[in-house]
Every structure is written in C-alpha cells, then in structure tokens.
C-alpha cells in the first residue's frame, strides 16, 4: 500500500517570540518493509533544515528560527509504501523454551527496551498484567503469552482519546482505566517488559483504522477513528525480530500502519518539540491528512 501523508503543526504565540529551536521526528522510517519515496519538511518562517539519525535509528530534522515571529508552522509531506508483514502464525512458532535460552542474551542486547523508562516506570501493576512465564511449559508459544498480556490490558483499559493528556503519567492512566493509543501502548509495554520480552514504543500513522467495516477500537462508542497519528508497540521475539502489535485495536500491525519513529516510550519519539525565547503563551494546532495513492511502477 502506498500513502501520502501531510502533517502540519502550527504554533501561535500571543506575544512575539524569537530564537526558537525545534526537533522533529516526522519522517517515516525506511525499513525492509517500508519504503519512503519522498519526504519534505518546511517551516514558516523559513529556516534551514538539518538532520541526523538518533541512537534509535530515527530520522531527526531540526531547525532554528532566530528572527522575531508570532506564528510557527511546520509542514511535513511524505509518500511511503508499506509491504505485507509476516503473518502472526510465524510469531507463534517461537516457543517459550527458545525464549528462555535466549533470555540472557536478550537482556544484554536489548537492555534499554527491558529496563523501566521515564514514561513506563517499574510498577506493581505490571505483575498483574504479565502472565506468569515461569509456569509456562517449554513447548508453549511465546506469542500466546504476549496476546494474553494484551487481552489483560484490554480488560483494564477503555479507549478514550480525550481522557488523558500528552503528559499524563501511566499510573494515573491505570487508575482512570481509560486512555488514548499512547496510553494503551505504555501499559502494554509495561506488561511485556514484565514478561521479559523487549518491547518498544512506535509512533506513526494509521489509515482508516476504525471506520465501519474495520473493527472499532474497544469502547470507542462508534466514534469514527479515521486517519490519525497513532501509537503501537513492537515486541522482540527471538528468531523472528520486532513484531508490531496495536494494543488499541488488539491486532497485529498490518498494511494500514506507517511507522515513523521507535523508542523506549513516548518521550523518545515526540513528533515536534522545541524551546524558544520570549514570554508568549502558545496555542497548538495539528492537522494530519492521509491518502491512499495508487502504486506505480518504480521508475527511479
């Protein structure tokens, strides 16, 4: 599937500000299963864009606006195509026994995706959400334990996009019992890390994830859930690799998902962040549009 995504972020300040420094994680990731045909990002006021790869492999663009301004617009356009991902029955071939043998090595290689992180700290709650791996037999599929964990996350949380804010801590989310895709992802990350499975946070776009015909997110009360910035998780299954799971919709990630950035939790993948000088209060608007576009023969 090929998509065109337009992602506009607009800040309005109620007083003029200057020397604004911004970091963007808006470019879709190039992976063997996801191809980025075009990515362009521009700011208004215009500024020279620089870019680098962060330690997680994400593409980071950054720019500085020195002149005085009252509004800052960041417009990112991408064209990206997504190839079919391996079916989840491949994932079920990884046995708990294989996982046990690999555990020490995983702990060394993927320590940062197993250790508590800023937004997913060590909590008692993870113990209830993670099934008991020591009780499982060597022959059982590891993925069954993973799906058990996300079933339990579902029993605990109802989807409600407006219940939380970007900085609501995860223990508060658990107390509320409601949350956005970000909160679902944080909770599932906690549960899977409790199981000893390296798990990372993924930010990206979802195309028509909950429109009629597709399954609605649990508890979404029939509200349309069209194309939005979305979050899910990836669990590392030894021998297979990182497997994308969308806890909000309770299903493996498929062709509708465009991956933008990965990290330990939301703090590693914040799409737009920055600082400025001046004493303005800011108003933020985010506009995302996403179209499915026809696959073309590659000429380049």
């Amino acid at each position: 599937m090929r998509y065109r995504v337009s992602h506009t972020t607009e800040y309005r300040y109620d007083d003029s500000v200057y020397e604004s420094h911004n970091e963007l994680r808006l470019s879709p990731l190039a992976t063997p299963l996801q191809r980025v045909h075009r990515f362009e990002v521009r700011s208004e006021p215009r500024a020279r864009m620089f870019s680098y790869h962060d330690w997680l492999g994400n593409v980071v663009h950054y720019f500085n606006v020195h002149p005085i301004h009252e509004r800052l617009t960041i417009r990112a356009e991408s064209v990206v195509s997504v190839s079919p991902r391996p079916k989840s029955d491949v994932w079920r071939q990884v046995a708990v026994g294989d996982f046990r043998r690999e555990r020490d090595r995983l702990r060394e290689t993927y320590y940062e995706f197993l250790a508590p992180s800023t937004r997913v700290p060590a909590l008692e709650a993870w113990r209830d959400l993670a099934p008991d791996i020591d009780a499982a037999g060597d022959g059982e599929a590891l993925y069954d334990l993973v799906s058990e964990a996300f079933a339990r996350v579902h029993a605990r949380l109802a989807y409600d996009r407006d219940a939380t804010r970007a900085d609501t801590p995860v223990d508060r989310v658990l107390a509320l019992g409601r949350g956005s895709s970000k909160d679902f992802s944080h909770v599932l990350i906690g549960a899977l890390r409790g199981l000893g499975v390296p798990t990372r946070y993924v930010s990206g776009y979802g195309f028509h994830l909950g429109e009629p015909g597709a399954e609605a997110p649990p508890g979404a009360s029939g509200r349309p859930f069209p194309f939005l910035s979305h979050a899910w998780v990836e669990a590392f299954l030894p021998g297979v690799g990182w497997c994308g799971i969308d806890p909000t919709h309770a299903r493996p990630v498929d062709l509708r998902y465009v991956k933008v950035a990965v990290g330990r939790d939301y703090d590693d993948v914040v799409p737009v962040k920055g600082v400025f000088r001046g004493s303005g209060r800011q108003d933020l608007g985010v506009f995302i549009e996403m179209w499915s576009v026809p696959e073309r023969e590659e000429v380049d």
Partner: protein
C-alpha cells in the same frame, strides 16, 4: 587526527567560553544594580532583580519550572545559574562537561592544561553554596580568571596543530554567538533608555563590560556614549577580540588552517559557511544593520543563523558522521 579527538577539543573550548560568559553576565549585572538601582528604569518586580540575566540566557522558563514561586533574586541566580549540578546549563555543569571532554583527550592536551582544567573543576565542586550566595563577586571573578588562565596555558603549551585550531574554532564560534545574544537581549532596553533622554552610560557600560569590552570601547570612542556606537562596536570592530566580526574572522582563519586553504578558495563546506558569515560582517554597511523591520534585531538573528550554519558545517566536514546505511542496524528489522 581522529575526528573524535577533534570534536572533544572543540567542545572543550565551547564549554569553557560558555561558562565564562555566564559568570561574567552575572557579575556585571550585580555591579550594574549598584550603579543604577533596580526600578529606576521601570524594570519589574522589586524582588526580581536578576530577571534580565535569566532572560538573557534563555533560562526564565526553566527557572520558573524548577523553583515555583521563588523570586529571581541574586541568591536564586547563583543557585540556578552557577551551583545546580542537576541543570546542564549551570556553570558547574558546563565546566564538568568541559573537563569530561578534556579527560577524553587527556593525552592530546598538555599536562599543564589538564591540571588547570582539573583543579578548576574540583574547585567548583567544593564551593560553599552559602558563601557564594552571600558574596558571588569573588567566585564569579575567579571563574573568569581561571578560564582565561586555561586559554593562556593552552596557547603556550599545546602543539599548534589541527587540535589547537579546533580549540580556537570552538572558542570563537561560541563567543560570536554569545556576543550577539548579549546585544540582542539588551538592545531594546538600551534604545529605550536613550530614547527617553536618560544617560546611556550605566547600561551601555554594563553591556560592554559583560563582553569585557568597556575599556577597549573607551579607547576607540571618547565622546558621550551612544546606544548605536555600543552596538556597532560589539558587532563590527575589527581589532577587538570579543566582537562578532573579530570572532567570525578567527573562526574562518582557524577552519581554513585545518585544510591550509588559501584565502579566496574553499575546500570544505565549513570554509564556505565561515566565509559567507565573515563577508556579511566585514563588508556590511553598518547603517544597514539597523534598518530591518525590527531594526538591529533582524541583523542579530541573521548573525545567529550564520553561527548555527557554521557549527553544522564544521560537524559535517570535520567530525565523525556515519554514512546513513551504517545506521540501519538490526534494530530497524521488521
């Protein structure tokens, strides 16, 4: 020379210059308050006397978030801007970062230089917080002096090779940006003072002193101080080592030295970036700098933009940058 080593030396210099400026801004502001009591220029709440220093350094929001409800007075400024080791922008943290960079290239700098740097760091760690809050002047002046001593020792004991050129590059690039920020942070106020017919002297002198430029300015301009003269001096004076023009010329000279490119030619993007910036300063009609929509502010924004681009270009042409394909590692697998 390995690019990793060059990068450490470059940052060592940038951090030292940054620390020196924070200390000097604070010290000069404290003196200004003695000469021109707070409130005479409609400055703001009576107990927030150090607010201008916070805003000059872009630390106001950080400070409000870190110490809710605390007035921005002298003790608060010392705590937040000098002592707090948890904040990466405090003098103590900056010097710690400078020392870490020095330690990484311990065998590339001289023993004398390392000893100066190391004792400096330990002296800061051992500061008595209460004493500094009470009498900041002695400590702040000591910080500036020690850093200048490190510069002197570096000049006198280092091999003047590529590493030394990168030390100079870092020092002067940081200084160019800080002089521009100093002027930018105080320019509107200085203009307002002059516009109201008040003497420019106390504030104008404070701005010059914050750039250690007061005496030099007086040698060039003997007449009554004018806001515009102060700004022109800090931007364009070719013979004083704190002005933006002098700093950018020094960066340009050092960067060219790395590849031994003769003037008028360029072999790296860093040289092109410094050349463009220098041309902008050296051949500017001084009058035009004051003519933008927001006056001098526009020109200063352009100077800072030049500084960003130079920093970027130096990183790209002289420091380690892995090619993109090397970064797609096992972690990006499906």
């Amino acid at each position: 020379m390995l690019s990793r080593i060059g990068e450490s030396i470059y940052w060592l210099a940038r951090f030292l210059e940054r620390a020196k400026n924070v200390a000097r801004f604070l010290d000069v502001h404290a003196q200004l308050l003695l000469e021109q009591p707070w409130g005479t220029l409609g400055d703001g709440p009576a107990n927030e006397t150090f607010l201008p220093v916070f805003s000059l350094l872009g630390e106001t929001d950080e400070f409000r978030a870190a110490w809710p409800g605390r007035p921005a007075d002298r003790a608060a400024a010392v705590d937040h801007l000098v002592l707090d080791l948890d904040r990466p922008s405090s003098v103590r943290s900056i010097v710690r970062a400078a020392r870490e960079n020095g330690r990484a290239v311990r065998d590339r700098i001289s023993r004398e230089m390392w000893e100066e740097l190391n004792t400096f760091h330990h002296a800061l760690v051992g500061l008595e917080a209460e004493a500094v809050r009470e009498h900041p002047h002695a400590t702040l002046i000591d910080i500036c002096r020690r850093i200048q001593r490190i510069y002197g020792v570096a000049e006198a004991t280092l091999l003047h090779d590529g590493g030394f050129l990168l030390f100079r590059t870092g020092l002067f690039l940081e200084r160019a940006g800080l002089t521009a920020r100093l002027l930018r942070g105080r320019w509107f106020k200085l203009q307002a003072v002059e516009f109201r017919g008040l003497p420019v002297e106390p504030l104008g002198a404070a701005i010059l002193k914050a750039a250690s430029a007061f005496e030099a300015y007086r040698k060039v301009h003997h007449a009554r101080m004018e806001a515009r003269r102060v700004a022109e001096f800090l931007l364009f004076e070719p013979a004083f080592p704190r002005t933006v023009r002098f700093c950018l010329a020094s960066v340009d000279y050092a960067v060219r030295g790395l590849r031994r490119s003769p003037p008028g030619s360029s072999s790296t993007i860093a040289e092109r970036a410094t050349g463009r910036a220098l041309a902008d300063l050296a051949y500017a009609e001084p009058g035009r700098a004051f003519k933008g929509q927001f006056g001098l502010d526009d020109f200063l924004a352009r100077v800072l933009d030049h500084c960003d681009r130079i920093g970027e270009a130096i990183a790209e042409s002289h420091f380690l940058h892995l090619p993109e394909e090397m970064l797609v590692d096992f972690r990006s697998a499906p």
